[in-house]
C-alpha cells in the first residue's frame, strides 16, 4: 500500500499517451485535482505528446474541409461555463430558433456577395446555405404526411445538399422587390441551382411565387418553370452558364410562362 501514491505519480506519461484504462484515467484525473506536481508535469508532457502528433501531420482529403465547415452550421456549440452575457444571449436565441439547425440570422442577412469575393466568404456562405437547406428539409419532413411524399422530400434534400456542398458551388444573393432576399447556389459542374428565399411578403390568397430559369439574353417570357416557392428550397436542373433565376407572382397553381414582371432576378 505504501506504493500507491508513487504508482499514481508515475502514471503521468501513460496518462498523456492515453495508454491507461478508462478507470485509471478517471482515478488519475481525481489525483490531478490534489497533486500540483503531477498536474504541472501533465501539462508539459501533454504539449510534448502534441508534438508527437504534429510530427505525423498529413493533409486530409480536400472534401473534408467543406464537409466539416458545413457541419459547423448544423452543430450547436456547448454554452460557455461562465457567463459571457453575449454568448449566453446568443445561445438562448439559438435554442429558441424553430428549426434548431437554422443558422443565426446574422450569417444569413449579410450574404450579398460580389463575384470574386474572398473564397472563405464564399465557402461560409455556401455552408450557411447548406445549413438552411438542412433546416428546410427538417421542416419539409414535418409537413408531409404520406410515406411517398416523405421519400420524395428526402431525395430532393440529398440532391440539394449535393449542390450546396459541391466544390464549385457559387452563391449569388439579391434583394427582392417583395421584401427579403433570394439566394441561389449553383454548381456549374452539376448544372444545378438551389433557390431559397427569406423574408418575402406573404401573398394574398390565390397568388403564389413561381420560380423560373431564364435564358441569358432572355426576355422573361422565354422562361422554364422550376416550381412554386413555398417554405422549402427548390432545385433547378439543367442550368446553363449565364442562365438567371427569376421569381414572379402568379395565380395559384402556377402558369406555363411568367405573366408578371419578376420580383427578383438572380444570376447563376
Amino acid at each position: 500500500m505504501k506504493n500507491l501514491r508513487d504508482d499514481l505519480h508515475v502514471l503521468t506519461g501513460s496518462y498523456v499517451l492515453d495508454a491507461v484504462s478508462p478507470d485509471e484515467r478517471e482515478e488519475f484525473e481525481r489525483h490531478l485535482q490534489t497533486c500540483p506536481a503531477c498536474d504541472a508535469e501533465v501539462r508539459g508532457l501533454r504539449e510534448t505528446a502534441a508534438r508527437l502528433a504534429m510530427a505525423r501531420a498529413v493533409a486530409p482529403p480536400a472534401r473534408m474541409e467543406r464537409e466539416v465547415l458545413a457541419a459547423t452550421y448544423q452543430t450547436r456549440q456547448l454554452p460557455p461555463l461562465s457567463g459571457d452575457p453575449l454568448s449566453v444571449a446568443r445561445e438562448r436565441r439559438r435554442v429558441q430558433a424553430a428549426g434548431v439547425f437554422a443558422p443565426r440570422k446574422s450569417s444569413w442577412s449579410r450574404r450579398v456577395l460580389a463575384p470574386g469575393q474572398a473564397s472563405w466568404t464564399r465557402r461560409l456562405a455556401v455552408a450557411a446555405a447548406a445549413a438552411s437547406v438542412a433546416a428546410a428539409a427538417v421542416l419539409g419532413i414535418a409537413q408531409v404526411s404520406t410515406q411517398h411524399q416523405l421519400d420524395t422530400t428526402r431525395a430532393s434534400g440529398a440532391a440539394i445538399a449535393r449542390v450546396v456542398t459541391a466544390a464549385d458551388a457559387q452563391v449569388e444573393s439579391a434583394p427582392s422587390k417583395a421584401g427579403g432576399s433570394v439566394t441561389v447556389v449553383t454548381s456549374a459542374q452539376l448544372r444545378e441551382s438551389v433557390v431559397s428565399a427569406t423574408g418575402m411578403a406573404a401573398l394574398p390568397a390565390g397568388r403564389v411565387y413561381q420560380v423560373w430559369v431564364m435564358a441569358p439574353d432572355g426576355a422573361p417570357f422565354s422562361a422554364r418553370s422550376v416550381g412554386l416557392l413555398q417554405d422549402t428550397q427548390l432545385l433547378a436542373a439543367a442550368v446553363h452558364r449565364g442562365d438567371r433565376i427569376g421569381i414572379t407572382v402568379e395565380p395559384a397553381g402556377g402558369t406555363r410562362q411568367p405573366t408578371t414582371t419578376p420580383v427578383a432576378v438572380i444570376p447563376t
Binding site: T12, G44, V58, M64, A71, T75, R90, L124
Partner: protein, 173 residues
C-alpha cells in the same frame, strides 16, 4: 483563436481548421491506419473542437495540445472498442519499426525530423514504449506484454522517456 471559435465565429474556425486538420488527421490515421475510418474520426474530432471550444482554457496549455488530446483519445477509444479482442489474442511480436508506413510527406517535415532526433536520444525501451503507446494506441499493460517487461517498468520508462522528449524539444509549459 479557439476563444473566438467558442463565440460561434465560423471564420476563426476556418483558420483553426487550417492549422489543425493536418495534425488531427495525421495522428488519427497513424493510430487507426484505415484511411476511410480515419477520415470519419478526424471529422468527428474537428466538429468536437467546434462544439466544445468554450471548454478550452488557454491558461492550461496550447490550443494544439488541447485539440490533439481530443484527437488521439478518440482514435484510441475507437481502436480499443473495435479490435481490442482480436489484438489481444495475437500477442505475436509487434512490428517495432513503424517507419516504413510513414508517408513521405511526413518524413520530410521539420517537426518529424525534430521528433525523430529526440526519439533517437532515448533508450530503446523508452522509445519503443512511447511509440507503441502513442502511435499504435496500445495500453501500457499491452506494451508490457509486447515488450516482455514488467508493468511497473513500462510505466516508468514511458514517463522518463516523455520527460526526456520534453526537455529535448524544449517544450515549456
Amino acid at each position: 483563436m479557439l476563444t473566438q471559435v467558442a463565440r460561434g465565429d465560423h471564420h476563426a474556425f476556418e483558420l483553426v481548421y487550417g492549422e489543425l486538420s493536418g495534425p488531427v488527421y495525421g495522428v488519427v490515421r497513424q493510430v487507426l491506419r484505415d484511411p476511410a475510418q480515419s477520415e470519419e474520426v478526424a471529422q468527428e474530432v474537428l466538429l468536437e473542437i467546434w462544439r466544445t471550444a468554450c471548454r478550452f482554457d488557454p491558461a492550461r496549455g496550447s490550443g494544439a495540445a488541447w485539440a490533439l488530446t481530443i484527437a488521439h483519445r478518440r482514435a484510441v477509444d475507437r481502436i480499443r472498442t473495435e479490435n481490442a479482442s482480436s489484438r489481444r489474442e495475437q500477442k505475436a511480436a509487434p512490428d517495432l519499426t513503424d517507419e516504413q508506413d510513414v508517408a513521405e510527406e511526413v518524413t520530410t517535415s521539420l517537426e518529424y525530423q525534430r521528433v525523430r532526433r529526440c526519439l533517437d536520444g532515448l533508450t530503446e525501451l523508452q522509445r519503443e514504449s512511447i511509440k507503441l503507446a502513442y502511435y499504435k494506441g496500445y495500453s501500457y499493460p499491452e506494451v508490457a506484454t509486447l515488450l516482455g517487461v514488467a508493468l511497473g517498468t513500462v510505466k516508468t520508462r514511458i514517463r522518463d522517456g516523455m520527460i526526456r522528449m520534453r526537455d529535448c524539444m524544449g517544450v515549456t509549459w
